[in-house]
Symmetry: C2
Subunit: 327 residues, 2 copies
DNA sequence: GCCATCCACTTACGCGCTTCAGTGTGGTGT
DNA sequence: ACACCACACTGAAGCGCGTAAGTGGATGGC
């Protein structure tokens, strides 16, 4: 069933069409410094390229120049949201305008070790990796080993997302302890693919609980009816607060509490993690731990600065509690 | 400041280490059919590759075999959400396991013409593009022209996501009309990047409203306090139901209603779209329009089938109302 | 008038890989 | 004893490009 298999247009085609050699085509199209090329030739080549719809092969380019022009924008260590989306978008635009090929690696909630990122780096051999959410030293090392020249991350070197996962739970517990809660329930997600992350969070929570002298009970996010019963029981048992694995789980806690008729925050305080847009939409609005400082921070204006590695994108994303109605 | 620039490990290194030729290395590592290679050699090569940490260059591979192994997973035509995230995740996993390099192209709300997708296709020369949200014929043509061999889209040829977007709103309105609601409020998201989609939804809703003789008022998802007031006012004005752009917006509506003391579903029915896990976590639980026959449908199990183009990824996702507590 | 420059190019190599077309060796069939 | 063939490989071409090195011709200086 093979048909006209329209061959890819190469620099050789452009050369033929404009009556010069391939080298000249390359020099013109890349504005190679140190070459003197008259405007007339330049235009002829340019026009031929346009007319033929020539698109250089990044693969051949990568081989020849050992530099791909690919930039991986990694947001795998930071949960999605408007901030990340905005940063990704503006960065992508800027990169495309400069002739780079941006490739994004999204947050999936299941790439603890950054394997996807490393695989991508190994296979695609990007010139740069821009990690919006930070990178731990181990990952950074792996990326360097994979041959990535430029690694751009916020506050390079200091605590990576994987370490912060537990820390966020510590912040929750500390906050609750501070408000006088002594018996708190930790609700983890039911999805098996989040189990590993949940373990990290729980570890952090347990550490903080010990330090602050609060007793901690962990339960998974059951189906609403069941959870409502459980919450009612635990509350009757003396629990006065629940810390949720993240905001989405917290919504489930809020729902179950409402169903059980347990007043939030009066009878039970609830705190999440992530500060998703969702957190502002519940009733009561969700108190939560945010990983980023203020919205504007993430809008990347100076793409060149980012590429030069001079700008930390999310400087010091020190977690902080955003106090709303639920705790 | 150049240092030890650790050279990339190539197939030649593996060949040298295992005492065979580069050709043999290639045959072993790719399981090239039609070659007879004894288990012993196979193992020697494999081991050498492992020990050296050999990672083939997709760029060289692309040049030589005119097939990159890159698969673009495009969700630029379908708004983000847990469904898409899940599908993307499972597809990526499957692809990586099979030696492909998945590259995702996310929804940005600003790529109406699919330029990003086309650019990506042109530069990366993927073997396949998997469009989770469907593709219109023009785009498909452009991709083919860019040399993409396999283009996988749901129910190929028929309505792309952009058409279905409005249809979902029609289902919402039809359901509400059916339950006797005559005055309904449509709540759209506030994010500017969703404006275009919201317009599509609204158009569908308006069409259905006209057909079912219901009057429709559209408002954006304001900040909670404001929305609560507005909802109270609209309810006093005779509105008995609200249809939300999607489940996440619906959560905001539920929150505002609770704040305003408007009973759901007694005084005000609320219906969402997407059937996210979230929909089961609110109180009352959210009645919503599901795009898939049960959540599992979007989890792509058979990656091979997808790659072979034999599977529409979202097979006939006939929207249906999942009735829960809120409407 | 002659060599040095500069200009405007071209030639040719090699990046790391796949793959086609061999090549030598040992075993079978007759 | 010889042809034949499967086996287990190897050699080398070439994918599309960047780029170092070269080439021939027009100027310029002295």
């Amino acid at each position: 069933m093979a048909s006209q298999e329209s061959r890819r247009i190469t620099a050789a085609d452009v050369a033929r069409a404009s009556g010069v050699s391939r080298a000249t085509v390359s020099y013109v199209l890349n504005d190679t410094p140190g070459q003197t090329i008259p405007e007339s030739t330049r235009q002829r080549v340019q026009q031929a390229a346009d007319e033929l719809g020539y698109v250089p092969s990044i693969h051949a380019r990568a081989l020849a120049s050992r530099s791909t022009g690919i930039v991986v924008i990694d947001s795998s260590t930071i949960p999605p949201g408007a901030l990340v989306a905005g940063a990704t978008r503006s960065l992508s635009r800027g990169l495309v305008d400069r002739g780079y090929v941006p490739v994004v690696n999204q947050y999936t909630g299941a790439d603890e070790a950054g394997e996807v990122l490393v695989t991508l780096a190994q296979r695609l051999q990007p010139v740069a990796v821009v990690a919006l959410g930070g990178l731990d030293p181990a990952l950074t090392a792996l990326l360097e080993q994979a041959g990535v020249e430029r690694i751009v991350a916020p506050s390079p070197g200091d605590d990576p997302a994987s370490e912060r996962i537990g820390e966020l739970a510590e912040v929750q517990i500390a906050y609750l302890a501070d408000r006088g809660h002594r018996r708190v329930v930790y609700v983890t997600p039911a999805e098996p693919e989040l189990a590993a992350l949940a373990e990290l969070r729980l570890a952090g929570a347990r550490g903080a609980a010990a330090a602050h002298d609060v007793s901690l009970t962990a339960i998974p996010l059951h189906e609403q009816e069941h959870l409502a019963d459980e919450l009612a029981r635990l509350h009757a048992d003396g629990a006065t607060a629940v810390a949720a694995y993240n905001d989405e789980v917290a919504v489930g806690v809020l729902g179950a509490a409402a169903r059980a008729g347990v007043d939030v925050p009066g009878a039970l305080a609830v705190i999440g993690i992530d500060d998703l847009p969702l957190a502002r939409r519940t009733h009561p609005q969700l108190t939560t731990v945010s990983q980023s400082d203020g919205a504007a921070q993430l809008e990347i204006v100076d793409v060149d600065a980012v590429l030069a590695g001079r700008t930390a994108i999310l400087p010091h994303p020190r977690p902080r509690v955003v106090v709303r109605g639920s705790a």
